[in-house]
């Protein structure tokens, strides 16, 4: 199998990149699901762009400042500037492709408020914006079918990377278990995040960091892995997302004493504070016994919005409440808790989506990344709501354009197929052949509980140390795990085991980065180091795997252009 470009991941980033390339190059997309099943579709509340439909004084500059401030000043400001400037055109392009946006009174794309944004700039399609964007690109992929090969339900096993060059990928056809090599002049990753390692998470089963780990195993660094966003409104116990639009449209957060507790934490913007702040506020209320009935949840109350507004603007989240916790938000407050939601860290890239090989800016030839799996970094320590869909669209498209620029200088490289296959086959054979006794399910559960409890909203040294030793124990246990399904045909048990292996690998990196970073910034909050420490920590973490298997940590300065760090208050 050979293509000019192979894109791993069929979410917004991967499809956006593909749309730039179809017709010009021979493009293939590899996805472990089907494009319409990608997790981009789960994003609800909107996509940020200063199109200034709702508030005429909005500008990309304001969007930039909000994003930088929201990131707790860890975002690279050149990247943010690029994204916010590209945002309006990107949204308008999506509209032109046919995206069904909600409309305002002037027939333009409607916009709503979102946490951390100083203007109403979230363009939306009711509360299923990700779905609307994803499906319009899926439609376009069918339009360009002749020029686009889709490898649906193919699982990424490894990145083929040698001597500074990415040459292709090793994949497994889920339907047959067959392992194949795809040669490509350019490899692009849009493989999504790594939130699945948490017990309470909004992430799909598919968000197991496969791409991130493939890059890491190949010897490439990962950036800012310790920054995981906890979304304040996950449905109690299920973790399923209640869109931030629920707060954007006026929802109240209520504790066990019936108080709108956000007035203690962010008096000027209340519920519309950024997610890290609201999640911490909730966790504090819960930890101090002010959860509902003293339990580990609080309420989001939408009743005052009225039936009509809820049905018009929040129909999906109403249905989720009914289906998953048996609560109709028209009549009752909905029980919620912080849920692992977004991975700020990932594969480091340049502004142009070229993957970085080190902190010095060395570029990997033929390797590109965009969207949640990448760390460009536009979100720094905390992402603002509605900036993720934007990032995926903007940088997916950018990756495509960069590949077009680079392609002339790229070629199909020789690959030692047997070597490449044998590495992954060994991994699979170990799983198949293991006479083990450990249940993969038990290992997975233990990992998830460990990560939520010891490396969650609030972190501290001793807990992180426990987290680290637990992850290492579980890595050892995994070597002695067992699976029942030894067949080739659609072996989801094998795939889940491979995904678990990935989660065990990256979880260590999250914890490691968190342990080293002795400050609190954005989504990373240390109770033993409660203050942000710009003198020592205004820098990105780079972790990479050493030949002996150990983890090397290095740091890279933050790019600051327009906005000097100041205290972050709302």
């Amino acid at each position: 199998m050979k293509h000019d470009v192979v894109i791993i991941g069929s979410g917004l980033a991967g499809l956006s990149a593909a749309m730039e390339l179809v017709g010009n190059l021979d493009v293939a997309i590899v996805t472990k699901v089907y494009p319409s099943r990608s997790h981009s579709g789960a994003a609800q509340g909107g996509v940020a762009a200063a199109v200034a439909n709702h508030e005429k004084d909005d500008t990309p500059d304001l969007h930039m400042y909000d994003t930088v401030k929201g990131s707790d000043f860890l975002a690279d400001q050149d990247a943010v500037e690029y994204m916010v400037n590209a945002a309006p055109d990107t949204i308008i392009k999506m509209e032109k492709l046919g995206c069904v946006f909600s409309r305002d009174g002037e027939q333009k794309i409607a916009q709503r408020a979102f946490g951390g944004h100083s203007r109403k700039r979230s363009c939306y399609a009711a509360d299923r914006t990700g779905h609307a964007l994803l499906h319009v690109l899926f439609e376009q992929s069918m339009k360009h079918k002749k020029n686009l090969t889709l490898y649906n339900e193919y699982y990424l096993l490894s990145l083929i990377y040698k001597d500074g060059v990415a040459k292709g990928v090793v994949v497994m056809d889920s339907k047959t278990g067959k392992i194949d090599i795809i040669y490509a002049k350019a490899v692009m990753f849009g493989t999504g995040g790594y939130g699945r390692a948490y017990n309470i998470t909004s992430n799909a089963f598919s968000c197991t960091g496969d791409g991130i780990v493939a890059a890491y195993r190949a010897g490439l660094p990962l950036e800012d892995m310790e920054f995981v966003q906890f979304h304040p409104t996950g449905l109690y116990q299920q973790g399923i997302l209640v869109s931030e639009a629920a707060r954007g449209d006026g929802g109240y957060l209520i504790n066990g004493k019936g108080e709108r507790f956000m007035e203690k934490y962010a008096p000027s913007v209340m519920e519309l504070a950024p997610r890290d702040i609201v999640s911490r506020a909730e966790q504090t209320e819960i930890n101090e016994g002010r959860g509902i009935d003293g339990k580990d949840y609080v309420y989001i109350d939408l009743r005052h919005l009225g039936k009509e507004k809820i049905l018009e603007r929040l129909p999906q989240i109403r249905q989720l409440g009914i289906d998953f916790v048996g609560v109709d938000c028209i009549d009752n407050p909905v029980p919620i808790q912080p849920t692992a939601h977004y991975s700020m860290g990932g594969i480091p890239t340049t502004l142009d989506c070229r993957v970085l090989a080190d902190v010095d800016g060395t570029i990997v030839k033929g390797f590109y990344a965009g969207g949640e799996c990448a760390c460009v970094s536009v979100h720094g320590a905390n992402r603002l709501g509605t900036n993720s869909l934007l990032e995926a669209c903007v940088f997916g498209e950018k990756a495509g354009r960069t590949i077009l620029e680079d392609i002339a200088s790229l070629s199909h490289e020789d690959i030692n197929e047997e070597d490449e296959k044998s590495v992954v086959k060994k991994r699979i054979d170990n799983i198949f052949a293991s006479p083990g006794t450990e249940s993969t399910n038990a290992i997975r559960n233990e990992l998830k509980i460990n990560m939520t409890n010891n490396c969650g909203v609030y972190r501290e040294k001793s807990k992180l140390e426990t987290a680290l030793s637990t992850v290492k124990e579980l890595q050892e246990k995994f070597k002695n795990s067992k699976i029942a399904d030894k067949s080739k045909l659609f072996n989801t048990e094998l795939q889940e085991a491979l995904e678990l292996q990935n989660m065990l690998e990256f979880s260590e990196l999250i914890v490691k980065g968190a342990l080293e970073r002795t400050e609190s910034r954005g989504g990373h909050s240390r109770t033993d180091y409660p203050k942000r420490d710009d003198d020592n920590w205004l820098k990105h973490t780079f972790v990479s795997k050493q030949p002996d298997g150990s983890i090397e940590l290095k740091y890279k300065p933050v790019t600051i252009t327009k906005h000097q760090p100041v205290e972050r208050k709302y």
Partner: protein, 323 residues
């Protein structure tokens, strides 16, 4: 609650026929059906195979048949589908099964591609900004645009069971989303295709699609809208559209003897098939003769209701009602 999960098992490489296997499970409080199936997979039998992803009813992966009907496992509270202490789970219908609850979805995607499921705007008009669309116009495509392509409708569609060439409910709902999109200009081409055999007129109104649809897409309602839009555009090239015309003419008795408030059942078949469509007319002769023999033929002169003029007036203002 301790419940028996009866799950269809099948390995297309090894088995000649599916078998049902029973698993006992204590349903945890608040567990979705997907949670339960996963508990069985993770704790009892790792070979049990299914698709799943988002857990929040937006990706459409975990559609399967529960007690005989398609639904999303993640969107279903397990206790809600227990009957006689039992839940019966099978793969989606109308698809070849690959393994256990995993079916070969290729026919579904292939059907979708038939209708060019992408916007075809007027390329000659350049918009600097977004194209404008009123809130009301957006509403026309709002329901269809909620489709998650889970294939529940395709699974339970009755016509699909007897005719794999039928476009199927999801595809037709997707077509509605473009026909009714004020930004799409290929309405005529789209309606032409939809009015052919295997299109909208082949829907038998069984309403399985809308009943099983986990979103607001409700394909039957969309198909009905497409039919109405076709009639507005004057289509009469199919027996389906002429059947509609037959009702339009028969109820108000447009021509003498065609109806009297109630329809004249003698008028409907030839009008639908075409008065000059001799082979089709010959095709309905046997049933006509059978009914005549049994004395079942409707009276030649239609039954006329007492205040027939009211109905005539209403149909006389057909266009005003269309607004």
């Amino acid at each position: 609650m301790a419940v028996k999960f009866v799950i269809q098992r099948f390995d297309s490489e090894k088995d000649s026929a599916p078998r049902m296997e029973e698993f006992n499970l204590e349903i945890p409080k608040g567990a979705t059906l997907l949670d339960c199936i996963n508990l069985i997979k993770w704790e009892q039998d790792g070979t049990l195979t299914l698709r799943m992803s988002c857990r929040s009813a937006i990706c459409g992966s975990c559609a399967m048949r529960v007690n005989g009907h398609a639904r999303l496992a993640c969107k279903t509270q397990a206790v809600d589908v227990v009957t006689d202490n039992k839940v019966v789970i099978a793969p989606l219908g109308n698809f070849p099964v690959i393994k256990d609850l995993v079916v070969d979805l290729e026919p579904f995607w292939a059907s979708l591609e038939r209708i060019d499921p992408w916007l075809k705007p007027n390329e000659s008009v350049k918009w600097e900004r977004e194209r404008l669309q009123t809130h009301d116009d957006e509403k026309l495509i709002d329901d269809a645009s909620t489709c998650i392509l889970c294939a529940s409708c395709y699974s339970d569609c009755n016509v699909m069971e007897v005719d794999k060439n039928y476009m199927g409910p999801a595809t037709l709902a997707k077509a509605q989303r473009f026909v009714f999109d004020t930004r799409d200009v290929k309405t005529k081409e789209r309606l032409d295709q939809l009015n052919e055999l295997t299109g909208i007129w082949d829907c038998t109104h069984c309403a399985e699609c809308s009943t099983r649809c986990p979103t607001d897409t409700k394909p039957l309602a969309r198909i009905t809208e497409l039919k109405a839009r076709s009639m507005e555009h004057g289509y009469s090239n199919s027996a389906g559209s002429r059947h509609v015309l037959a009702f339009r003419e028969s109820i108000p008795g447009k021509y003498p003897g065609t109806g009297g408030g109630l329809i004249n059942e003698n008028y409907i078949p030839p009008r639908s098939l075409g008065f000059f469509n001799i082979p089709a007319l010959i095709g309905i002769l046997p049933v006509g003769i059978r009914m005549m023999i049994r004395g079942k033929m409707p009276p030649l002169l239609p039954h006329t209701i007492e205040k027939f003029d009211e109905i005539k007036r209403m149909f006389g203002r057909f266009k005003e009602y269309l607004k």
